[in-house]
Subunit: 415 residues, 2 copies
């Protein structure tokens, strides 16, 4: 089979992750093995760099720096939240024609899979031979089809570690501690906090996800009951929690505050802009309505979850590199375009493979558009995550920091 | 010289740090070498555990667990924010008498040094032979006399690493990012963020400290100018920033929000309770008043700065262990009580020693009560920290995670 000869463009989109550059370096490495991809251009800030014709020549970047970049969080090429419409994609295609680009690798979430679809369709209509491969990336783990998403394991490791620490802190100086975590539509990242539980009274004691309606009265009651039982309470909450009608609480709180809401090009309220308000609101409610609770704190970890240097899951890093490499292999072997998906092999010891799936499966035109945490992992009250979730997330996270504590060895006061 | 024979009590107070248990294990280890300290009792939740007679028998804790506890963040004995008055301290002394306690080691900040002073005075008045040694601990680094404080180096390492990551993230998806950091009266921790600067345009671009008055109009102007210059802006702000009259902004914001303010026993407004409001307020001001700035985020790292497991400065950990050990040595050698202070030896290569200083020097009855960042480290505009600060903080932090980036090797579009 003769391969399509030409240049390639790779870009990164959406929110950065700890391992997004592993995928990029995977593309670079694999490309260098094949002579029919002549130049590999790295688009600066995703598709925006394509239309502005701003690139890095990735074949000229030295190996020492490539390996360092691989371990560096946040998109080394820069990323974008642009959502190209048809006109924008025509401009992308024009740039591709100008530079004889025949391979386009786009590392991102489901929004970039949509972009990839449009470009693919326009190229086909224009009878321009172009191989478009989408490479999965997100900390939310809400991409369809793939068992899990590169970027998730490392963010989950961060969240779990942070909760180990917060749990110790919460034991040392008792009170109510609330952490607002990233997760617009899916609670996978928030659910990973349960890996912090070691001792029977460890937190997080309560876990609230976008998958279950959140009510402020029930929340207050849950916190009070927990605080009565343990003298303290540690809570994990997705920034995407919503009420009975599906309205995100971050929006409701901002409306209460009469603040302007920030939206991105996808029409999504920038939840992270509202996470601080949400944290503020929830702690104020507890403080105001729970007379027995004197100490309440709420934190938004913010971007630390996705860009804390030197901190990532080895398995996640390996898989992120793999999907980048496989994207190139598929682009040369397959006669069609698609998105690289990870498959968890059915075995007792964790093992993973990949497959190429149609772009329409990853970015469909009708809902559901994203994956959500499965019912089997959520308790019936909708305020906690069950321990079976450890089987799913454990191998993605890998080792967590080890901690120690004192045991009460003798009974009663000592003298 | 004959040593005072009896039991010992060790306690931990105030906010936990990443290395507070290093000091504790230092006390345990050193105590085991001296037969005239018969039992070592660990008070649960500081002095509160003393009056409630709730202890761990620390001589019975297994070595494997001791080493693991040493590396574990947050007070393994539990901590307290109680501020004992004379009556409370009389109760403490009564418990000491009951258990024949002749040595009291208290690991904490300047509030616990005050507590140690009171107990010391009461014991002297009662003619009860008691050796009281205060062991320094704080992430703020604001303790008087000592060159720097155990706990600070690790928190500074966390902050610097977080800013490395946030800087990369801010480059990838440009906008304004504000991080609110711990630091009630002193800007040492916030200042450590400058270690993240590597490339000339790296952030933090602006650094605001409690040591300089903060005005919202000047802040907006600073951010706009930076954003115009770099297309982005990364800001480090102490939670303890105050206005021209010395009023903490976290308080002003909470008053604006008409929320109840949370105070601790020391009468301090719980700034961390207001940090979320402050983050919220500042980002809303930018969003509302800067028409060219579309993306603003503010985060409070919260307790991660002091309890992220597996993440600490080796030098800080070593020094924290040292001051714990030295406390015991001083208690046996000296005829007086005091606080262990670290001395930076005057040499070109960083080296440290200790000395015992009078409790009144660490916790005086007249201001200043805390140390603040020296003028030589702050720029004249009061919105940045100078590079000479690296000499002070660099050795305390040690190695930071390494990152990589692409260089623009060729000029112009590539084809």
């Amino acid at each position: 089979m003769s391969h399509l000869v030409g240049n390639a463009v790779v870009g990164q989109a959406g929110g950065p992750t700890a391992v997004i550059n592993q995928s990029l370096i995977g593309v670079i490495q694999e490309t260098q093995k094949h002579s029919h991809i002549q130049r590999l251009l790295g688009a600066r800030h995703g598709v925006r760099g394509v239309i502005n014709e701003e690139f890095y020549d990735l074949m000229r970047q030295p190996d020492n720096m490539l390996e360092l970049v691989a371990q560096t969080p946040a998109a080394a090429l820069g990323a974008t939240r642009d959502k190209p419409d048809e006109e924008y994609c025509e401009r992308i295609l024009n740039t591709f024609k100008k530079y004889d680009v025949r391979y386009f690798f786009y590392i991102g979430g489901n929004d970039s899979a949509q972009t990839a679809q449009i470009i693919n369709r326009l190229a086909t209509n224009a009878k321009y031979d172009l191989r478009v491969i989408h490479i999965p990336k997100t900390i939310d783990n809400d991409l369809l089809v793939t068992d899990h998403c590169p970027g998730y394991g490392s963010a989950a490791k961060f969240v779990a570690s942070a909760f180990i620490g917060d749990n110790l802190d919460n034991r040392a100086l008792k009170g109510v501690k609330i952490n607002i975590l990233m997760g617009r539509d899916a609670g996978f990242l928030t659910a990973a906090s349960i890996l912090a539980r070691q001792r029977p009274d460890d937190g997080p004691h309560l876990v609230y996800l976008p998958e279950r309606p959140f009510g402020i009265d029930r929340f207050i009651k849950d916190v009070e009951e927990t605080h009565n039982q343990f003298g303290r309470c540690l809570v994990a909450i997705s920034e995407g929690i919503r009420d009975d009608h599906g309205i995100p609480w971050a929006e409701k709180v901002q409306v209460m505050r009469k603040e302007g809401m920030e939206r991105d090009d996808f029409g999504n309220v920038q939840l992270s802009a509202g996470a601080g308000s949400l944290a503020d609101y929830l702690s104020a409610e507890i403080r105001g309505r729970c007379r027995t609770i004197r100490r309440v704190r709420a934190d938004t970890f913010g971007y630390l979850q996705r860009s804390f240097p030197g901190f990532y899951s080895e398995q996640d890093a390996w898989e992120a590199r793999l999907v980048g490499q496989m994207a190139v292999s598929y682009s040369l072997a397959a006669e069609h375009d698609g998105s690289v998906a990870l498959i968890r092999l059915p075995s007792t010891t964790y093992a993973v493979g990949t497959k190429l799936v149609a772009l329409q499966e990853v970015a469909p035109s009708k809902p559901p558009f994203t994956k959500v945490l499965q019912d089997e992992y959520i308790n019936s009250a909708g305020n906690n995550v069950l321990n079976n979730f450890r089987e799913y997330v454990g191998p993605l996270v890998g080792d967590l920091p080890k901690i120690g504590w004192f045991e009460q060895i003798a009974q009663g006061p000592l003298a």
